[in-house]
């Protein structure tokens, strides 16, 4: 395997530092929400995780388009990496949402449009991983992955806008929304700073993880090529 680039090591360190600072801000810098109490602090990383998930799925669609144009398997590796990271973070987003919902909505789960579309989106991409595994020919698998990621990405705007398009109990914190919704809150300047910093931090987490996952994907590709050569 190729040696680890110096820039990746720097990115690792910067990401860990940002994550530590963001965690400090969440617990000690941002004030406690007046009604919901400490559980509202889940909000900062809950939304940031959703942001990373959506970045991953949109990134996979972009990689899919480029793959279909250039037929370079590098873009399939990037797409797969982005989907995998997207799944991990949307999972975090959904589970932390349920934990936040329990004391505020008095239920772990409700089939609200936002929760439902997010879950469907997660399932679509889990199916992407499962279906890929069933295709042995690397080129066919890459073509399938590209088309699937492009079509699957339609679930991203649907999930994002579901809370705006449909009647929902999910609060819309960014760009307004109904203040009477259960769980809605006004962000103070310190909350807003913590929130923006969390988004920045998780963007770094995404880039860092993506780079690592792409390197792993390249290594897996090398092993697969070697295996095919050995069999022949």
């Amino acid at each position: 395997m190729e040696s680890k680039p110096r820039l990746l090591t720097v990115l690792d360190v910067v990401t860990v530092i940002l994550l530590l600072v963001a965690t400090y801000m969440v617990f000690f810098y941002a004030p406690q929400e007046a009604v919901m109490g400490d559980v509202q602090r889940v909000f900062y990383f809950h939304v940031a995780a959703g942001w990373v998930g959506m970045l991953g799925f949109i990134g996979a669609a972009v990689a899919g388009i480029i793959y279909l144009i250039r037929k370079d398997r590098k873009w399939d590796i990037i797409g797969l990496a982005a989907v995998e990271i997207g799944i991990v973070f949307i999972f975090i987003n959904i589970v932390t949402g349920a934990i936040w919902a329990r004391p505020i909505w008095n239920t772990w789960w409700t089939w609200d449009p936002r929760l439902t579309t997010a879950t469907v989106m997660l399932l679509i991409y889990i199916a992407y991983l499962l279906l890929r595994q069933g295709i042995e020919d690397p080129d066919r698998r890459a073509r399938f992955g590209a088309v699937y990621a492009i079509i699957g990405s339609l679930s991203v705007p649907l999930t994002y806008f579901s809370a705006r398009l449909f009647r929902t109990i999910h609060p819309i914190v960014i760009a307004g929304g109904d203040p009477s919704v259960t769980g809605a809150f006004d962000m103070t300047p310190l909350m807003l700073q913590t929130f923006m910093f969390s988004l920045l931090t998780f963007t770094f987490v995404f880039i860092d993880l993506l780079w690592h996952r792409i390197r792993l994907g390249r290594q897996a590709d090398e092993v697969e090529q070697l295996r095919l050569k050995t069999i022949q």
């Binding site: 395997m1 406690q32 929400e33 007046a34 009604v35 919901m36 109490g37 400490d38 559980v39 509202q40 602090r41 889940v42 990383f45 809950h46 995780a49 991990v88 999972f91 975090i92 589970v95 932390t96 934990i99 936040w100 329990r102 004391p103 505020i104 203040p179 009477s180 919704v181 259960t182 769980g183 809605a184 809150f185 987490v205 993880l209 690592h212 996952r213 792993l216 290594q219 897996a220 090398e222 092993v223 070697l226 295996r227 050569k229 050995t230």
Partner: protein, 58 residues
Amino acid sequence: MHFLQYFQEGPADTTNFMIAGYIIIFGVMLIYLFSLLVRQRNLQKDMEVLEEIQSEEE
């Protein structure tokens, strides 16, 4: 704003839920990092075995 505010004085005691949320966030991220490490090690081993087989064949 939401129903809690009509029945309580001061913020609700929801610290345990916050702790559970952050355990999930950091726990899942650590598990994913660990899975990347394990997969990388396994691929490294596979690579060594395949290279050995190839060199034996040659």
